[in-house]
């Protein structure tokens, strides 16, 4: 695939992620932050997000698995996940967290478990998408092209 084509694919893909709600404007901010001095910024942040989220999800799973659920703790984890997902622009994950927090407040363990499943699902989805996107970017760069960030103004 030649560079131009890759770039177009990248643009389309990115746009779809936005329109489908996987990513929001915050992600654009991140992309705009990337520059020559820090060409891998987005990749780094996204990787960090993955690491952190997976840890949180594990903690959440464990916490909800307890015979007596500590909802405060669960809420704290969810809150953090909400924060990091919103910082990175993972909109659907963030929204799932919001709902999750409500159930934590209500101390509804069953509903919390359901929310956890939902959050996990959204997380893996967006993870997948982002990984694809990054791969695309890397291919473009490897082929000598540049990622057309400026095209993202939609």
């Amino acid at each position: 695939m030649e560079v131009g084509q890759m770039q177009r694919t990248w643009i389309e893909y990115t746009k779809s992620l936005f329109s489908e709600g996987f990513l929001d404007a915050q992600f654009t901010q991140l992309q705009l932050l990337q520059d020559e001095s820090n060409p891998d910024f987005v990749v780094e942040v996204v990787s960090l997000f993955f690491e952190d989220s997976e840890r949180l999800l594990n903690d959440l799973t464990r916490a909800l698995d307890q015979p007596i659920v500590d909802f405060k703790k669960v809420d704290a984890h969810v809150h953090q996940l909400k924060g990091s997902s919103s910082s990175i622009g993972a909109q659907r994950v963030k929204n799932a967290c919001i709902g999750f927090r409500n159930f934590c407040e209500q101390q509804n363990a069953e509903a919390c478990l359901r929310c956890l499943q939902q959050v996990k699902q959204e997380y893996y989805l967006v993870k997948n998408k982002l990984e694809t996107l990054i791969r695309l970017e890397q291919q473009i760069v490897a082929a000598g092209g540049s990622v057309p960030m400026e095209e993202l103004s939609f």
């Binding site: 915050q26 991140l30 932050l33 820090n38 910024f41 780094e44 942040v45 910082s87 622009g89």
Partner: protein, 686 residues
């Protein structure tokens, strides 16, 4: 200022004076580029994003994941940061707590952020003194303008400085530009506070080149410089410490009178704060200041500062404070341990207080008030050891030689005392509340004042610095005041170091300090830490324990007083005090007048001398002593020994009563309950 395009980097050539760069150089044209930001967030993703965004804004970023780390970074490098951004929810420490501590110890602007945008949380940020609240996800646009908070704070500090006793500065007001230079010192408050505590005030002029840079270079009040400064102030005597003379004494090339003036102001505020720090957490501040709520914030910051500083100095091990407390608590009136050192320390702190508004001072006052009482009850003979510990900070304060030293090497003790006090602060606060005048209070109060010195940082923090950390500021002061009181009580000689027994020792010290007079707000009542004689306090028996004006000793006392030049401060204070009939029965309300409060007797050298000279301090002492009883229970805020007022010893009682009255009057709700009662009252052999 042009905002560059692209990533929004800022290249600004604002008129602002130079921002002290990390390297200590003044960068005047780059502002706000180079703004040194400390970011605290346990979320690594956010942290990374924020760092990148801030760097894009051309800020200098330091990030850390944990609040404790952040605090130690801030403490190690007091002047290393301009602004802090912190997350609200963190595992190791609540963001708001961190906010308070930073405010108290370093008095830096703090921005809170969170994914939580609930009204309650945001409100909490406001009440805890955050200068802004950002909702996550944070956009770069929101970060571009954070520099405004730094400038605003500096500006306000400047204003405070100007308002309070800038008389001597007269037309030397510097333009905004110089503000930066001078304000840098405020930024360095914590800095010099620490330095004060760590070292003894020495008059060894150092070459300071910072001030010689560029246009209105920002003066960096390094530890050494501050030491010199405090030494000079002490040497001159609080009431006589005018910028000009201080400058001469310091003999630092490149340092301008304005620099010294603004620094002095801060110092006074700091001292005031120290003395004013009551045990009460928020309550105090609220009640204390009454109107000063706003000031609350800054106050706390100062307090925190003190505490932090104290804590930072690490000099004051908690144990010493605890010991002190124990000692204080254990002993009843006999505790006069709190030697003057505390007072002295307070003095030092008051400098830092300049930043505080008056209102703040009041709060501090409250805080300090309490301690004052403690001191009162506490035999001035603080265990040297303890004092030493406490004094750690006091030493650094510079020759805060506690006037109380007269009592017996309290000086060093004060340091420890303070420390202890700070520790005891929490206790003290409680004690203060309690009506027990017994010395036990002292420990707590002491803790407060001490806090300012060095421990303050740590201890105060613990005490929640009067929630706002105000206590921190006060603690040292309070202590000193209490200490002062003691001597006063015991020694009926107000003149000289001996603080009249009856009179509030603190007052005398305050008086002696002269310089602080201004600062001695009514809030500071005895606490100015100047007056070693605790007696005053004990005698004061103020019903309003809170307003241990002494606490405010360092602080500028009631606006009116502030205008007094430093020198007058004491005089004013003392005179006021003097005039105020001592009558122990005087309620604090009347003490208000005394607000001239004895400025913490910073005078280096023996307090006695100062006391004599500044009789005001003595007055305070007497005042306090007189009112000690009252003070105890009431806020001695008014009792701020107005050192300047009583040049000679006037009836201590008068002083006390005056102070008390002031305090009482000024204090308003006795939230502050300084519970001095507990302290001094008992101990002071009236």
């Amino acid at each position: 200022m042009n905002l560059s395009n692209g990533k929004g980097s800022m290249s600004t050539v604002s008129s602002g004076g130079g921002w002290k760069q990390a390297g200590g150089d003044v960068v005047s044209d780059q502002f706000p580029a180079g703004l040194r930001v400390l970011v605290v967030d346990d979320d690594p993703t956010c942290l990374m994003i924020l760092e990148k965004m801030l760097k894009t804004c051309l800020y200098e970023v330091t990030k850390c994941k944990r609040a404790e780390v952040a605090l130690s970074l801030l403490r190690e490098n007091k002047n290393g940061y301009d602004i802090v951004i912190s997350d609200v929810h963190m595992p190791d420490m609540d963001g708001f707590k961190l906010l308070e501590q930073i405010g108290l110890e370093m008095d830096l602007p703090v921005i809170m952020m969170s994914a939580d945008d609930g009204k309650n949380v945001v409100m909490k940020g406001v009440t805890h003194g955050a200068c802004d609240y950002l909702i996550k996800p944070v956009r770069i646009e929101a970060l571009r303008n954070i520099w405004q908070h730094v400038v605003r704070k500096r500006k306000n500090e400047w204003k405070d400085l100007e308002q309070s006793g800038s008389a001597e500065e007269g037309g030397d007001r510097q333009p905004k530009q110089s503000e930066d230079a001078d304000y840098s010192s405020s930024a360095n408050e914590g800095n010099w506070k620490n330095s004060k505590r760590r070292k003894d005030e020495e008059e060894d002029p150092e070459e300071r080149d910072d001030t010689s840079t560029l246009k209105k270079p920002r003066v960096v009040w390094s530890v050494e410089l501050h030491q010199q400064f405090v030494g000079a102030v002490n040497q001159l005597g609080i009431d006589k410490a005018v910028p000009k003379k201080i400058l001469e004494l310091m003999n630092v090339p490149g340092l301008t009178r304005e620099n010294v003036a603004s620094h002095l102001q801060k110092y006074r505020l700091y001292l005031r704060r120290l003395s004013g720090v009551s045990q009460h957490p928020n309550n105090l501040s609220g009640s204390f200041m009454g109107t000063q709520e706003a000031a609350y914030g800054p106050l706390s910051s100062l307090n925190g500062l003190d505490l932090q500083t104290l804590a930072a100095t690490g000099q004051l091990p908690a144990q010493s404070l605890a010991t002190l407390q124990a000692a204080g608590l254990g002993r009843s009136a006999a505790k006069a341990r709190m030697p003057m050192p505390i007072v002295e320390q307070r003095n030092l702190f008051s400098f830092e207080n300049p930043k505080l508004r008056f209102g703040e001072a009041q709060q501090q006052h409250l805080n300090s008030n309490k301690p004052m009482n403690l001191l009162h009850g506490i035999p001035t003979t603080m265990e040297p050891k303890q004092l030493a510990n406490l004094h750690h900070s006091s030493h650094s304060l510079g020759s805060m030689n506690m006037p109380v030293n007269a009592h017996g090497g309290q000086g060093s003790q004060s340091g420890s005392l303070l420390m202890q006090m700070s520790q005891s602060q929490p206790r003290g606060q409680m004690l203060n509340e309690a009506t027990g005048n017994h010395v036990p209070r002292l420990p707590s109060t002491i803790g407060q004042p001490i806090m300012s010195n060095a421990m303050a940082g740590g201890v105060l923090a613990r005490n929640g610095l009067a929630e706002n950390g105000r206590g921190a500021g006060y603690s040292p002061i309070t202590q000193s005041s209490s200490m002062l009181n003691y001597p006063l009580n015991n020694s009926a000689e107000m003149s000289g170091n001996t603080f009249p027994l009856g009179s509030t020792p603190g007052i005398s010290t305050l008086a002696s300090k002269g310089g602080f007079q201004d600062e001695v707000n009514s809030d500071i009542k005895v606490s100015g830490g100047l007056i070693p004689s605790y007696d005053i306090f004990s005698e004061l028996h103020q019903p309003k324990s809170n307003d241990w004006e002494l606490q405010n000793v360092g602080l500028t006392f009631n606006g009116s007083q502030q205008s007094n030049s430093m020198q007058n401060n004491l005089d004013v204070g003392s005179s006021i005090l003097a005039h105020q009939s001592f009558s122990s029965g005087q309620s604090n309300g009347e003490n208000r007048n005394v607000s001239s409060v004895v400025k913490p007797i910073f005078s280096t050298g023996d307090a006695t001398d100062h006391v004599n000279v500044h009789s005001s301090g003595q007055l305070l002492n007497t005042f306090f002593a007189d009112n000690s009883v009252r003070v105890k229970s009431e806020r001695v805020s008014d009792a701020n020994c107005q050192p300047g007022l009583f040049p000679e010893q006037f009836g201590q009682e008068d002083l006390m009563s005056a102070l008390l009255k002031q305090q009482q009057g000024g204090i308003g709700p006795t939230e502050n309950e300084f519970d001095f009662d507990g302290y001094t009252m008992d101990n002071i052999p009236v």
